[in-house]
Symmetry: C2
Subunit: 215 residues, 2 copies
């Protein structure tokens, strides 16, 4: 299982400093929506410059203007962009087409999609699908962190690459390890830990152990 470090509500120098502490324990770096909206594509450019060997996901949460948003993100160094599953289908398909053109990837964020929308989106080839409990749902609505039982069976086929995001802690992570999820997106459990490197190391040890057990 891969670990995607989600960086949010930080300045760019804070994000770089924090990532340096944990980089050997994580796989992908997510430049969070808050960094993009606060600092623009500089956030993606500077993270790629600081970590050129890492996969950078720009959490663009695209809803429209797919060609333009894909171009500015991929040009700034993003390896993966995100598009909302609730966007018009033409926007999602344009993101997929742009990713093929740039030889990059797209993560489809399933936040607040209906099961009908999810079923139709799952037919899209080469996408990464992100099951997402949003920050607001967690922090303001008391919606809890991931449980293995919340992952729809349709998603767990060998042909799908699935990520889970939203309040993942070391406790819930153990459950996710045997859930069939491919990527765990972890934010504050690392970034707000008193010792981020130790926290990231613990996640990583579980993740790599988990993969071993599953194989």
């Amino acid at each position: 299982m891969k670990i995607q470090l989600a960086l949010d509500r930080l300045t760019i120098p804070e994000a770089i400093r924090l990532t340096h502490l944990v980089e050997s324990h994580i796989d992908w770096i997510e430049v969070g929506t808050s960094l993009i909206k606060e600092f623009g594509m500089d956030s993606v450019r500077e993270m790629k410059k600081a970590f050129p060997h890492k996969t950078i996901l720009a959490d663009t949460k695209t809803m429209d203007n797919a060609k333009y948003e894909a171009e500015i993100s991929f040009s700034a160094g993003a390896d993966i962009i995100t598009v909302m599953g609730t966007a018009p289908i033409v926007t999602i398909k344009t993101c997929m087409e742009m990713a093929r053109r740039y030889q990059k990837r797209v993560m489809i964020d399933l936040l607040n999609t209906s099961s009908e929308q999810q079923k139709s989106l799952l037919a899209i080839e080469d996408a990464i699908f992100c099951l997402h409990i949003s920050k607001d749902e967690q922090e303001l609505n008391g919606k809890n962190e991931w449980q293995k039982s919340q992952i729809p069976a349709d998603f767990l086929t060998p042909s799908h690459t699935i990520a889970a995001a939203g309040g993942i802690t070391l406790d819930s992570f153990s459950q996710l390890l045997t859930s069939g999820i491919n990527i765990a997106i972890i934010g504050s459990a690392i970034t707000k830990a008193s010792k981020p490197a130790d926290a990231a190391k613990q996640f990583n040890q579980l993740a790599k152990g988990g993969v071993f057990i599953n194989e």
Copy 2:
């Protein structure tokens, strides 16, 4: 009827230069999502600095992290932010709450919402509702500009403030004038006109005439 000038796919200096040409003919200035994602909150800050007397809408298209996105946008000078109608309801309500706290406003973007979602959103007080045909739907899907008949009757009550966005031209604008819409969001019909000031003046003359006829 108010005219909201939508600025997209421009640098900040281009957006400022263009807005200076047309400012006397438009009511609200929209700092488009593309400017926010490309240049961050500098785009909002610089537009407010250049046009302090104008209402500035930051098209944040918020899907999550409502408190943070509202704070950075209102602090940068936005008078209105946008939230997606397809976002979790807690996110939409948090935007409303933040707007009350800052004495600012929220536009709920109804892009790709179902009629059930629209019905439930219409109960939210003090919001501006935006009926939206997206750029991608227009440019890539051949979905046409606004027709008066496309505006659901539920929206057209005196208690609702309604905006329409998406490919509005001088031709379709005439129809909108008698449709009950309060705000017309106009982008390329002004920004890409050979003479932006003339185009904006024509829209404005129709808009102010339209209001007069309706009264």
